[in-house]
């Protein structure tokens, strides 16, 4: 008879506490971790600086040019402060916003692994799917905060400098300020969905490595390469499948009536990307040996 065979047949008096009601405590702790970290606050500061720079640049210069490759909003900024927010979102969409989302999502698991706290979370115990869910929710909340912050800072400062008034949509129709603000909110929502897909990719990459910086670079690199490929007309066959392809379709939300076909495809594409990469993250992480 071996030691193993002599394993106790009588169960131990395990007086282990049962889980309490579902609570947001872990998520709140996660958010405190993200928003309490100076690095992340500095990043948010940079995101907020862009609408401020745009507003003052437009206010104190006579030059009026279009704003980058997206819908041109800068020229309209002087007519309505709301367009400062839109212009800032447009300017930050190719790089700054993806960088912010990549940094947070790539840090989610890899960051905990690199400092070693991952093993203690799992031993607490935190179920692995729950850890991923909380991490991804926190990434989404950060994305909402980042996008809204750019919009609010832009609109607030823009209206302070240029005032509010009827908003001329891309289709030429004029709508009220309230309607304009509603359209801006829709734009923010659409961008959160798009960036949320990137966050899912980031979360997946984060489960592959113990180096958060490397994971961040990989995700940003992916977003940039996707945009480069999207700009090569020779590759138009693959364009609809690129994760960033529909991002600039948010301009369609500023038409009257709203052109929904590209928006719908954009939301669909983002949901598919999110589903694929969240599943991949779960598949990878659920059985992974945590040796960090």
């Amino acid at each position: 008879m071996s030691v193993a065979d002599s394993r106790p047949t009588t169960a131990l008096s395990v007086t282990v506490a049962r889980p309490r009601r579902p609570s947001s405590r872990f998520l709140r702790s996660e958010l405190r971790l993200i928003f309490g970290r100076r690095r992340n606050l500095a990043g948010l500061g940079v995101l907020a600086a862009v609408p401020i720079i745009i507003a003052f640049a437009v206010r104190y210069s006579s030059a009026r040019r279009g704003g980058g490759g997206g819908p041109g909003f800068l020229s309209q900024a002087t007519s309505n402060g709301l367009f400062v927010g839109l212009a800032a979102l447009t300017v930050e969409l190719p790089l700054f916003l993806p960088l912010a989302v990549a940094a947070i999502s790539a840090d989610a698991v890899a960051g905990e692994a690199s400092v070693g706290t991952l093993r203690y979370l799992l031993a607490t115990p935190v179920q692995r799917p729950r850890l991923l869910a909380v991490k991804y929710l926190a990434v989404l909340i950060f994305t909402v905060a980042a996008v809204l912050m750019i919009a609010v800072v832009g609109v607030g400062l823009g209206m302070a400098l240029f005032g509010a008034g009827p908003v001329t949509l891309l289709s030429g129709t004029q709508v009220s300020t309230a309607e304009g603000l509603w359209r801006l909110l829709l734009v923010c929502g659409y961008l959160v969905v798009c960036l949320g897909a990137l966050g899912a990719i980031g979360l997946f990459v984060s489960t592959l490595t113990e180096q958060p910086i490397g994971a961040t670079i990989a995700v940003v690199g992916l977003a940039v390469i996707s945009q480069i490929l999207d700009s090569l007309s020779q590759l138009s066959a693959i364009h609809p499948y690129l994760p960033t392809h529909y991002w600039l379709a948010f301009g369609d939300l500023l038409r009257d009536p709203i052109a929904t076909d590209q928006i719908q495809l954009g939301v669909f594409s983002a949901l598919v990307y999110a589903a694929i990469f969240l599943t991949a993250a779960w598949a990878r992480f659920a059985t992974k040996d945590v040796t960090s």
């Binding site: 030691v3 106790p8 395990v14 282990v16 506490a17 709140r28 702790s29 093993r119 031993a123 945590v290």
Partner: protein, 328 residues
Amino acid sequence: MTSPVAAVSRAVEDDPAPAGFAVTSSGLTKRFRGGQIAVDHIDLAVPSGAVYGFLGPNGSGKTTTIRMLLGLVRPTTGSHMLLGGRIPQDAQRVLPGVGALVEGPAFHPYLSGRDNLRRLDAADRTADPATCDRRIAGALDRVGLSAAAAKRYRNYSLGMRQRLGIAAALLQPRELLILDEPTNGLDPQGTREVRSLVSDLAAGGVTVLLSTHLLSEVEQICTHVGVMHVGKLVAQSELSDLRAQTAQRVRVDTPALTQAAATLGRLGLTDIVPQRDHLTALLGSAQLTAVIAALVHDDVPVRAFGPVPVNLEDVFVTLTGEGFGVSG
């Protein structure tokens, strides 16, 4: 190499009223990618209430075993139970009753000690948020870290970090503590404090699995010991059994070395080693009292006589075939 393990099996089997086991494993094995076997078919048996010294040199597989016990690493083959629950199936049920320190402390550097504990407590679905602050204060006090609670973790010394790791393991009332090298990096005073803390906890009924490479630590605070060597559990038993198992030597202090050796030899003692002013010998089946009587009878001038205290280090060198260096 099988005899010590067999002896343990016997000890477990012969226990008339086998108390529960806090930790058991059966054929637990981990082969990492690349084929290296880190842990090779080990059958752990940690009785409830024991302070189990999990002893072995660095690299002998202790930490990998602990990671498997906690469900961090999947065994290649074999299974194990903690507190009567299978891992990983019952992990969510039993792990709240287990406090662990695995391969050194790890916390967020930019959070204070207290905030780091809050973070861990928030992750624990069984923890009561209403008592969080009180439990954290209690745990910090227990490891003597109250004064540094508000300090950022990055500014902690190695010893303070180790203490915070132990505090994290004590956030909840536990039934089992798995402590991997808990005195690493502590000064002699801290080491004493931690050992006394472990003894206190054990006295309160907590089972402790304490991995260490320090034999003295095992001798001071453990009731049971398991010895790892190159991924194998080469011995496992109560500490006293392990001592008793080893061959008893006697020492005779005498100026008449040759005469004493002759007497001992006549009584059947073997491995007689003469030193400058004394000799030692394996007692074998002879009785201590008979040896004394014979020495007196033979008029051997004896200054002192007695059993040689069992040196566990010798035991382990015998078991592992080497000292406590680093296993390859």
